[in-house]
Symmetry: C2
Subunit: 485 residues, 2 copies
């Protein structure tokens, strides 16, 4: 195994020696070609992903479209070129004679290991945001294929190979390592040529990878996105005015992907009221209309049942809705409620339950609600549902929210992470291992790049991004002022 | 001790609850006031720093001026405001109905611990780039005062207190913790309220702090800047044309701060030639003109002697110049040379020797030189000395250099790190623990901030930086396009 991983990482490092110098246009063409090759897999890919995940084909039409769009968006980003954050301090005559000409830009970090997630075989696994962002930055990628969808991963690897050949890229700029042993993950993470790790999955898995990395002689960045309970704050007027509408929206959100989304609303907080009682009844009603779909795997299903049982059997927890399915992998649908006091006294209720379940905390008052909210661990998202009056009356809630999560959602459900320039998918631990970065959106590229400063470098030896006449026409900060000239 | 650190960190966290919301203007006024209060310490500060460090008062005139300038530069940066990297994806009508309004910006991380360096009591210690950048980001700072200059640190703490009072800032936004036990560093690094660590010093010290942090339940970023050998490449024509000038420049550089600069050129690489022989002779001559000044402390001096002895007594090492001083702390001045083969065979020669010493490697040819250069560990800087002809003949050297160091210097000495927008003081490990950041220059602020995304947030609840009409008039990326409107 060690010999095999050595070979893989040596190949990745050899690819890095060439690929790091590819131009933005060359890398863009490569990322676009990857998208085209994935699209060319057509029905086979959709069917394979569906079979391996127990999720419907319709889901993969969207996920495949999104995945290809992400590769193209990163392609556009690097072709435009300003992502390298070029900063120039020109030697100024009026300054001290020692002042130099300093020019810096971001360059690629080195070979990156990607550990994909089980729940998004296309958008966050062998292809997806981690792979696309690392390739965009100029880093070769080694994917540790997820054991739950090996065939899907192989299809993607074949598409990658075609794109590599067509674009004349170094042959090992992308590699897929298969096998489900922990040993592979450890060897990949600890290999001297590894320069960074992207992980999407459970807290247990992410923490294990993080801990492997800490035992390295040479520290490397590990960005692990590990999920959340994504607390939702339901303010009173919103429940009064639109209780039914929000109940319907949250029933949909809880069941999205059979509850197997990292942004699933696992905990909802509200102050006791008649409107809340009504909301809970309505939520039950809409949950009852949902089907018990199959979960991704036996392991995930068993883990769900275990954690769900532990939550529902906690003293003081009242089950509002619960229905089992007919198949062995059928997800139990469940809603429960409890008081703020019970919740505060049972920290295990604060943990993620990965499946179509939500726990509604009926708080005594807004002080208790706030107290609970602040005590929760770091989150990918937190949501505030409120009328204009609710929100303006409780303005300080925004200040609380920003210390809890990477994304604050107003009057929408947290499921569904759009890929944009302003996306943040990350947050204080344990949502992620480094809240300063995002794993979704265009700034995901920043995880895989480091600045290099050129001091008094002759213009002809400078990278294009830093040359005097700005041949790439990118945005640059020159003597402290942003300009594109 | 634990109780005391608990109290300090609780106070820091309380300060954070207020200070994180200070406006750019408020923080700027505070940073400017700090600079003024440091200046107001006048002669007392210069004399105290000189007495505690064995460095001349003249040195602290410059270091104090630089330190105050850095506080004011960060003040200007945050008053201007674009550093928060505001990115806005406006809901677009032509997009899917699900598209949201996403707005993100950087916010402060939380209380930051600063471990200052012995060799710059003002620029990289209790005050300095770490403290200034963290306060600029909106993070309270707890400095673990360096045991070699306690009086200097106390003077600075007094200046800080005055600035806090004058600007009506939270009383514990800056705190100094004194004492020289490792236990203090460990407790500070591992405290739950600690959100990040900045360290400047030795590899041993930095790695210890980094390892303490890895044992935390909640990972935090640790940026440790730990020094380098800062390899210098001397190309042949440059030695032929300007051997004497470069010898004089490098003798100055090696002796700067009694060789106690982290950017000191510890290793010089060149291909054997007559011009190199001449350069070495000239360098010896200029070294002979230098004085044996006292080092910072007994410990640093002993460590220097130990490592210097180990290097000079290695088989195959030829001492070119060596002179002891007359006082117990006098630094030995030394130059030695060896072949590429000997250097490659003795990895201990690749390590930093912290003092006025440089080792010149006479390589058989450019291939061997390149091989050695690539084998060196990560560096803060690497320098290329060459005529225009040298540089254009060996263009690929720039490609090699950028994978080795955070800063590539052309035809200048590496000592002296200017504080600018384009500065990079960091680099691949062990130069620093995270090559994606810099500890000097304006972007040092990025170590202490994380992005938060506001999804569909009503304009009146948004932070100023993200409001529709851009009241701060900062540069923002809107729907992928940079604008200031």
């Amino acid at each position: 195994m060690q010999t095999y991983i050595d070979q893989v990482m040596t190949q990745a490092n050899d690819a890095f020696q060439v690929y790091q110098f590819a131009t933005g246009k060359e890398k863009k063409d490569f990322l676009y070609e990857i998208a085209s090759e994935i699209e060319a897999l057509g029905e086979v890919l959709l069917k394979t992903a569906s079979e391996e995940s127990n999720l419907p084909i319709s889901r993969f039409i969207g996920e495949s479209e999104r995945t290809c769009r992400v590769f193209r968006m990163f392609g556009d980003l690097i072709e435009e070129g300003s992502w390298v954050e070029a900063v120039i301090d020109r030697h100024q005559e009026n300054q001290s004679s020692e002042s130099s000409d300093l020019r810096k830009m971001l360059v690629a970090l080195g070979p990156i290991i990607v550990f994909g997630a089980s729940n998004f075989p296309l958008a966050y696994s062998t292809p997806g945001g981690d792979t696309a962002s690392a390739l965009a930055a100029g880093c070769p990628v080694v994917v540790k294929g997820h054991q739950l969808h090996p065939k899907t991963s192989k299809l993607i690897a074949r598409a990658m190979e075609k794109a590599i050949q067509k674009c004349n890229m170094p042959p090992h700029v992308f590699q897929l390592v298969e096998g489900d042993s922990f040993e592979i993950g450890k060897l990949l993470t600890q290999h001297p040529h590894t320069s960074g790790v992207g992980f999407t999955g459970s807290l247990v898995g992410g923490r294990a990878i993080y801990d492997y990395a800490q035992k390295r002689a040479t520290p490397i960045p590990v960005f692990a996105e590990m999920g959340s309970v994504n607390p939702v704050i339901l303010l009173e007027n919103a429940l009064k005015v639109s209780g039914t509408a929000w109940a319907k929206a949250f029933a949909d959100s809880i069941n999205m992907g059979v509850g197997q989304f990292c942004t699933r609303p696992g905990i909802q907080l509200a102050v006791k009221s008649e409107a809340l009682d009504y909301y809970i009844a309505e939520l039950s009603k809409f949950m009852a209309e949902k089907k018990n779909y199959n979960m991704l795997s036996e392991g995930i299903h068993q883990n769900y049942i275990l954690k769900l049982k532990s939550a529902l059997e906690t003293k003081g927890i009242q089950t509002i809705f619960y229905r089992t399915g007919t198949e062995s992998l059928s997800a139990e649908l469940a809603i429960a409620t409890t008081t703020g006091d019970i919740f505060l006294a049972n920290p295990h209720l604060h943990e993620e339950v990965f499946g179509p379940f939500t726990l509604i905390i009926q708080c005594d008052n807004l002080e208790q609600l706030t107290q609970i909210w602040k005590q929760l661990k770091g989150q990918l998202s937190t949501t505030i549902i409120g009328t204009h009056e609710d929100l303006t009356t409780h303005k300080t809630m925004v200040d609380i929210a920003r210390n809890i999560a990477g994304r604050i959602v107003f009057n929408a459900t947290p499921t569904g992470v759009e890929v944009g320039h302003a996306t943040v998918h990350g947050g204080p631990y344990p949502a992620s291992t480094d809240s300063r970065f995002t794993s979704v959106g265009m700034d995901a590229i920043k995880r895989w790049a480091r600045p290099v400063c050129f001091q008094n470098c002759p213009d002809e030896l400078l990278p294009e991004a830093l040359k005097a006449d700005n041949p790439l026409n990118i945005l640059r900060k020159v003597n402290g002022v942003y300009e594109r000239i």
